[in-house]
Structure formats: structure tokens, C-alpha cells
Amino acid sequence: MTAHPVSLRAQRAYVALMMTVISRGLCAASINDDEVRREVARFAPGYRIVMTVFPDGPRFALSVSDDHRFVRGDFSDAEADLVIRFKHISHAYLVFTFQEGTARAFANDRMVADGDISDSIRLVRCLNRMEALILPGLVARRAVKEYRPLPLTQKLRTAGGIYARVAASFFGR
């Protein structure tokens, strides 16, 4: 695969937008979806996560609340328990345009995780689950290692709830 024809500035803007959506989506999924809720419950309250791009972002920061939900945070990489860092903006672009799944991106050395590796795995499962919920099947199949179709009613109900919370979060503050 050659370097992506989309300009780096456009890639950066797209990745920044997607990171905003995804961080809010994870917060919403940690309320709306049982599976994500179970995963988040296994992080210690106060646990801090950053996903970023070398050398200076874009990035998002999440922490785990006392009632075991993801909430958006405002802290530095050095203060985080887990930092997942893409090595280049184009690598993040591949993942956030769903051309390369998260597990495949790890396997292709697109990013590094600094922190407890079990926690990284748990975060990837949360991401996969959220993507399977909110993305159309055709796109989700490219994003996750194995796409397991959900019953339409469940997908619509949960995805609708996540979309509503994400939308509300944009207008809420």
C-alpha cells in the first residue's frame, strides 16, 4: 500500500474529527451497551487513557468514573495510565477510515501501547464493540477482526442511544 493520496492536513482534520466522535461514542457505549459496560467495569475507577498520534496529536483522553463509565478527560500523556500512540497521522487515518482494523494495525506496528497490555486489549474490545454497534455491517466488517451481526432491533436500539448521546454531548457543553 502506498502513501495515501489525501493530503496530510486533510488526514489530520479527519482523524481529529473521528477521535472526537469515537471518544464520545465510547462514553455513550459505556452507558448504553451491556458488553462495553462490563469491560469498563474492570478498569479501576480513575484509570486514565490517552489515544494520540506522534508527534503532537490529535488526541483524546478518557478516564473511568467512580460509577464505571468512560468520561472525557483533560490530562497530559504523562498523567495517563495507558497511552496508545499512532506512529504517524497516515496510520491513524487508515484505522479511522476503517481500511485497517485495530488489531491489524497493532500487528502492522502502526501504533504502540504504553501501559498495561491487558488494559490495551480491553480498550480494543470496547472500540470493536462500539464500532460493531454504530457502523453499518459493510464498514464494521473492515474495522473488526470478526464481525458478528447483531439482531437489527438491538443494533438500532443501542446504536440509536449511542448516536443520541454523542449528539447531545456536542451540544451539551
Binding site: 500500500m1 488489531a103 491489524r104 497493532f106 500487528a107 502492522n108 506496528d109 502502526r110 504502540v112 501501547a113 504504553d114 501501559g115 497490555i117 491487558s118 490495551s120 486489549i121 480491553r122 480494543v124 473488526v144 477482526k145 470478526e146
Partner: protein, 395 residues
């Protein structure tokens, strides 16, 4: 499909062959080292394996400045501190690790303390937390399995907090590893079998998991061929130096392969089983390998099928229709395990180990689900699927 992008790194000099030990003095001198400390365990000393190393050093004008031979099977912070104190007391300038995985990991941790100063190893735990290269370090493996002699990782126990501290840094990769068949001639048959299957699993998972790349593939397939051709020979003829050397090289090649291509489900289950039931790592690898491959076959059967060539040879590969090669490769590994069981009583099922209770399978599955290796497995596995694999491996 060709790999779209990958990275490969192995700066460790491999010094391999008959009389390889005799090259150590020259190699030490190229790094300006004259006073090596030998780090080993009581078993290695008792087996008389220090004698050929000391003789080789003496013949090259180098004397061992200190010997620390008290490394336990599960090394701890206290052991590392004690060995570092001995190194400093005798003004050593290099480390020579002689042993298996625990000795090698301990030597890496000792090198951190003696190179970077202080006694608190914990501040260097994690990934890439070492600021500069360490003192010269050579590794002489006395088993053929772990591959630790060419990896960037070490694990040390912290008994006070009941955790295992992981260390990962390019600076932990030894300057050289010395593969001399004299060092494995006395390895008991069941350890030979167990460590051989450990190396086999490293190579098979490196080849069949998501991070495989063309260079790691070359190391992995060569390692598999050497193990398939020599493991039973080394068990039948323990003093066969050629077979021992082939296994030692295979183990190192498998180590290079998996440290660049990572591992998958067999290791996830193996790490979890080691933590819950305290079974040796190599045994866990042997227990789970065919079951994990069968689980993955629906996703990467073609890759598994390609392994029939290094496992069984060209004639069998050519005679087997492509659609049947994956199952034939798995069957080959099952037969190998049966032969090892017949010759060395190496268990093939969890039940045969006598050390695993059925009510522990749930905890093993839960831990395996959160093990770092699972992300590189080609097929997604959920808790129920892991429990199903464990039920099959129960026997």
C-alpha cells in the same frame, strides 16, 4: 496477500556451532570486557556445565571475576539485587548468563541495575524505560526453547506485591548468544521434549498469527523444520551433538521469529494456565498448540497448511491435496505429541498433567481473554470459545 508494512529487528550476534564457547574470550575483548560475572543456577552448576565455559575463558586469557549461581526458577527482585551487589563487589565489567529462561531474564535485570545504578528495579519496569545501552551481556542457553536469548523482554517477580514486573527495551537484547551443543547434552528427555515444543509453538504462532512478515516467516519455517527433524532424535540419542545443535539453533530462530511477529492464542491460554496452575510454560505450549490451530483453521487454514512442508517434508506435502494440508499439519503435531508422551510422558491434555482442576478452566479462560497475545491471534475469541477450547484440551 503480501504484508503491507512490517518492522524487523534483531541485533544479537549469533555464535553457533561445535566449540562455539571457545570464541567467547575474543568476543568479550572486542567489547573491552575482561572481568565477566557468570550468572547461573544450581542445576546448571550441578550438571557440570560451568566447567567447559570456564575452561574456554581461561584458555583465552580471561578469568571469571564472580559467579552467582543462586537464581531460582521464578526469579525475584531480591535475587536481582543480590546478583547486582556481587557484580559491584567484584568490579565486574560484563555478564555471562548460563541457563534457561529464568537465568537469562535475571541477567537482563541485573544488567539494568549495574548499568543504570541504584537498587530499585521497579522504576525501569514497562516498555522502553531504559535511557541508554547497558554493559556487555552474553547468553549461553542450556535449554532449547525460550528464545529469551534474542528477545528484548524480561519478567521478574515482585513477591511483596504478588505481581510479575515486565521489562521491554532494545537495550535488553544481549550482545551475543552462544549456541554450543555441549551445553544441552545433559538435558533430561522430558525437558528436551517440553522446551522443543515451546520453540515449535513460538515458530508456529509467529507464522500463523497477524503480525507474521516475510523475514519472520523465513526464521519460523526453518525453525519448524529443524525441530520436526531433530526433536525425537535428540530424545532417542541424548548425546547426539548434531541434533542438539540443530535444536539450539531452532530455538533461537523461533525466538527471533516470535519477537518480531508476536504470538497468539496458544500463548494467551498458556500464560493464563501458568498463572493459575503454575504449569511450566513449555508444557502449556505443547498442551494447547493443536487445539488453538484447529480453532484458527477456519480463518487461516491456508497458512497452517503451508506448515506441512517444514513439518512433514516435500513428499508428504506434495501428496496432500491443498484443502487437506492444514488438518494434516495439525495431525502431524498431534502425532509428535503422542510420540513425546510415549518416550517422555510429556502430558497431552490438561487432565494428564494432574495439576489442573476442571473448576479452574473458567479462571484460565478469563485471564486468557485479557492476555496481550490474544490481539495478534488471527481469529477473534470470546470467553465462551476459550472455555470450549479448554474443554477440548482437558481431554
Amino acid at each position: 496477500m503480501s504484508k503491507s508494512y512490517y518492522e524487523f529487528f534483531c541485533p544479537v550476534k549469533i555464535i553457533a556451532g561445535h566449540s562455539a564457547l571457545e570464541h567467547i574470550p575474543f568476543e568479550l575483548s572486542t567489547l573491552g570486557a575482561k572481568r565477566p560475572m557468570v550468572l547461573t543456577d544450581a542445576g546448571v552448576r550441578k550438571a557440570g556445565l560451568l566447567a567447559p565455559v570456564e575452561a574456554a575463558l581461561n584458555s583465552g586469557g580471561i578469568e571469571v571475576a564472580a559467579v552467582f549461581d543462586d537464581v531460582p526458577p521464578d526469579s525475584s527482585l531480591a535475587t536481582v539485587r543480590a546478583a547486582a551487589a556481587l557484580y559491584r563487589e567484584h568490579d565486574c565489567d560484563a555478564i555471562l548468563a548460563i541457563g534457561g529462561g529464568s537465568v537469562i531474564d535475571t541477567s537482563k535485570a541485573v544488567n539494568i541495575l549495574v548499568s543504570l545504578g541504584g537498587d530499585d528495579l521497579k522504576v525501569y519496569a514497562g516498555a522502553h524505560n531504559l535511557p541508554h545501552p547497558l554493559k556487555p551481556q552474553f547468553v549461553i542457553p542450556t535449554t532449547s526453547g525460550t528464545g529469551s536469548e534474542v528477545t528484548l523482554a524480561a519478567v521478574i517477580s515482585d513477591p511483596e506485591r504478588s505481581v510479575k514486573l515486565p521489562f521491554a527495551s532494545y537495550y535488553l537484547m544481549p550482545n551475543a548468544t552462544i549456541l554450543d551443543p555441549r551445553m544441552t547434552l545433559t538435558l533430561p528427555a522430558h525437558i528436551t521434549a517440553m522446551t522443543g515444543m515451546d520453540a515449535m509453538t513460538h515458530a508456529v504462532e509467529a507464522y500463523t498469527c497477524l503480525a507474521a512478515n516475510p523475514i519472520s516467516d523465513a526464521y519460523a519455517t526453518a525453525a519448524i523444520q529443524k525441530i520436526a527433524n531433530n526433536l525425537l532424535t535428540a530424545i532417542d540419542e541424548p548425546k547426539n551433538a548434531d541434533a542438539r545443535l540443530e535444536l539450539a539453533q531452532a530455538s533461537t530462530m523461533a525466538g527471533i521469529a516470535f519477537s518480531n511477529a508476536m504470538v497468539g492464542l496458544v500463548h494467551s491460554l498458556g500464560h493464563a494456565t501458568g498463572a493459575v496452575c503454575h504449569l511450566p510454560h513449555g508444557l502449556c505450549m505443547s498442551l494447547y498448540l493443536p487445539y488453538a490451530l484447529e480453532f484458527n483453521k477456519s480463518v487461516n487454514g491456508a497458512r497452517i497448511g503451508e506448515l506441512l512442508l517444514p513439518l512433514a517434508g516435500a513428499e508428504v506435502y506434495a501428496k496432500t491435496p491443498p484443502a487437506q494440508r492444514a488438518q494434516a499439519a495439525i495431525d502431524f503435531i498431534r502425532r509428535l505429541r503422542d510420540q513425546l508422551h510415549a518416550k517422555t510422558q510429556l502430558p497431552r491434555t490438561l487432565q494428564e498433567t494432574g495439576k489442573v482442576r476442571r473448576d479452574q478452566l473458567g479462571e484460565i479462560a478469563d485471564r486468557a481473554l485479557n492476555d496481550g497475545s490474544i490481539i495478534f491471534n488471527p481469529k477473534e475469541a470470546d470467553l465462551g470459545q476459550l472455555e470450549a477450547i479448554l474443554e477440548k484440551a482437558w481431554g
